[in-house]
């Protein structure tokens, strides 16, 4: 006669295990864990990349002007409303470009920081 299967108590297997708590990334950063470090590095890298992008734009738009004026003297001396182009560009047009680049950077840097703050403070 086959023994009746022993009755067992069915319970959740994890009641005795420590309850996992979802840890905010801010704590990971404070404890300097691998996760926290990865978040910090990614923040720093994206801010650096943004900065270098703006500088590259500055280098191309403004930095190449001296070379252009030497290679193509005709451009330098061509006149816009009676003023040589070099004067117009260096005396006036450069400044709005600088402000625009700065504005672009501030917008994106702030967005990166907002995203970072939301991500690391989420529990």
């Amino acid at each position: 006669m086959a023994a009746a299967p022993r009755r067992v108590t069915v319970v959740s297997p994890r009641t005795t295990a420590a309850r996992t708590r979802r840890v905010a990334v801010t704590e990971e950063i404070d404890e300097q864990t691998g996760v926290g470090d990865a978040f910090m590095r990614s923040l720093i890298r994206s801010q650096l990349r943004l900065g270098l992008l703006v500088l590259a734009a500055l280098g191309v738009v403004v930095g190449l002007l001296p070379l252009l004026f030497v290679v193509a003297p005709g451009v330098r001396n061509s006149e816009v409303v009676g003023v040589p182009l070099a004067w117009v560009v260096l005396g006036f047009l450069v400044y709005p470009v600088l402000v625009a680049l700065g504005w672009f950077y501030v917008r994106h840097a702030e967005r990166t920081e907002r995203d970072f703050a939301e991500m690391v403070e989420r529990e």
């Binding site: 950063i29 300097q32 470090d37 801010q47 260096l90 005396g91 400044y95 700065g102 702030e110 703050a117």
Partner: protein, 503 residues
């Protein structure tokens, strides 16, 4: 020009500066007030103050003189001085504010956890500050001589006296009000006369501006190299100027530091439209002034003449004096801060030479040295001398800041080696340019515009020596990086406050 109008202008500006400074005196009480205005300065006020402090004798007088003499190539000076703020904005502004340090040596010590790097940074702050102050005093001498006929030493002495009194009395809080006022004063003083000058020019049938160098002036040799070296020095040097950095600590947080910098870009761009026009008009109406720094001062008298010319001339002279006073004040505060924290407080510990007393004493020393140099008669055009200060800053503090903020593996020995190499190379070039009269040629050009070789040398030294001493990476560098880069609203452990809270 009518000396009475000139004297009145100079007197009124000095008095106004002192009165606004005195207004600040009533508010500033503690040592931290003296240094950074308790960090409660709003962004608009702060941006005006940065502009006011930054626009020096070189911007107000020097650029127009160089443009008159050499033509459009010299427009790179104002372009570079503005673009330097863009580089500062994208790579330095927010992290530097978040570092929480008062001065460059504070930053160096907090980031590299090394007293040694701090000392070298202090030395360089003094060197750059003095190099920048010297042409301000020279410019003041030229201005007072031009508008009143006074001997050329007097202007420098007047500026030095007003600055010392003001800094000693009020510290930086008053300086912030003064500086903001100075920006708008300078803009008015250079802009209003310009309207009249342009009207005269149009009335004359708008004669064309002669291009190219003026007759009797040698075309500068190796113009393309000089231009690029100048671009490197000004784009990278701005962040390394001691008086520029101190200003950033008065922003409430990193985000505001960025927004302030953006406003500064706009304010500087607006101002720098004007010296170029003075230079261009000078080429038509005052070609005999080629090679001097006085075109901005003399043009109103020559083109308008009579009582109107006298009044406009007095207004320009007032603006020029505002330029000397504001830049000198900022530099004096910075240099005095370093002298009092790192020299006086330390060597006389045990005596009562601490806090405010030592700051006041240091302010006198900060002004005395460059005044002596200016009176001893170093003869370099004002804008060029300031350009050399930028080259030293770009060769020293620029690599320290950029690598310190973005590269974890920078070590104290690497930082010191880079500061020394960059500092020695650029200072050598400056000394040769000021003291020795070389024949025009490659050697002369390389020394007159050292940034193109001294900046890469400094960067390379810092990188290589840091890699060779990799065991010396500061132990808390990860925590420091969290402090530098995490936005303030995120609540994380940023490590101990970098600044000594009580002095």
């Amino acid at each position: 020009m009518n000396p009475a109008a000139g004297w009145t202008a100079v007197f009124v500006i000095s008095l106004a500066t002192a009165v606004i400074g005195g207004f600040g005196l009533r508010i500033s009480r503690t040592t931290s007030d003296f240094y950074v205005a308790s960090r409660s300065v709003g962004p608009v006020l702060n941006a005006s103050a940065i502009g006011g402090e930054y626009l020096s004798a070189a911007s107000f007088l020097g650029i127009a003189g160089l443009i008159l003499t050499y033509g459009a190539d010299m427009l790179w000076y104002p372009v570079g001085w503005t673009a330097g703020y863009l580089v500062l904005l994208v790579l330095v502004a927010a992290p530097l504010r978040r570092s929480g340090a008062y001065t460059l040596p504070d930053f160096a010590e907090a980031r590299l956890e090394s007293q040694h790097v701090r000392s070298w940074s202090g030395l360089l702050v003094c060197l750059i500050g003095w190099l920048y102050l010297m042409p301000q005093f020279q410019g003041a001498g030229i201005t007072l001589q031009t508008v009143t006929g006074a001997p050329s030493w007097l202007g420098g002495v007047v500026v030095a006296a007003v600055v010392v009194l003001n800094v000693v009395a009020g510290g930086m809080r008053s300086i912030t009000f003064v500086q903001a006022f100075q920006y708008w004063l300078k803009l008015t003083a250079i802009g209003v006369p310009l309207l009249f000058l342009v009207m005269v020019w149009r009335g004359d049938g708008a004669p064309p501006v002669p291009t190219g160098p003026m007759p009797d002036i040698d075309r500068p040799a190796h113009a393309l190299y000089s231009t690029y070296s100048l671009i490197l020095a000004t784009f990278l040097g701005t962040m390394g100027l001691p008086h520029v950095l101190v200003r950033f600590y008065t922003n409430p947080d990193g985000r505001q530091a960025r927004r302030t910098t953006l406003a500064v870009l706009g304010l500087l761009g607006l101002f720098y439209l004007m010296p170029a026009v003075y230079g261009a008009l000078g080429r038509i109406y005052a070609p005999d002034l080629a090679g001097s720094d006085t075109v901005v001062l003399e043009l109103p008298g020559r083109m308008v003449g009579g009582l109107g010319g006298d009044l406009l001339g007095a207004l320009v002279a007032a603006g020029a004096f505002a330029a000397f006073l504001s830049t000198c004040s900022g530099l004096t505060v910075s240099v005095a801060g370093v002298l009092s924290q790192d020299v006086l407080s330390r060597s006389f510990t045990g005596t009562s030479l601490r806090g405010v007393t030592s700051f006041r004493l240091a302010a006198c020393a900060a002004v005395a040295v460059p005044l002596m140099l200016a009176l001893a008669g170093a003869d370099v055009p004002v804008a060029n001398a300031v350009g050399l200060a930028f080259a030293v800053a770009a060769s020293t503090f620029c690599p320290l800041l950029l690598l310190g903020i973005w590269w974890r593996r920078l070590t104290p020995p690497g930082a010191v080696a880079g500061l020394v190499v960059g500092g020695v190379l650029s200072a050598f070039a400056v000394l040769m340019t000021i003291a020795v009269d070389l024949d025009a040629g490659w050697v002369d050009t390389l020394l007159a515009q050292p940034a193109a070789w001294s900046v890469p040398a400094a960067f390379l030294t810092m990188l290589v020596v840091s890699r060779l001493t990799r065991s010396r990476v500061p132990p808390n560098v990860d925590r420091t990086m969290v402090r530098l880069h995490t936005p303030e609203q995120v609540n994380v452990d940023r490590g101990p406050e970098a600044v000594r809270a009580s002095l």
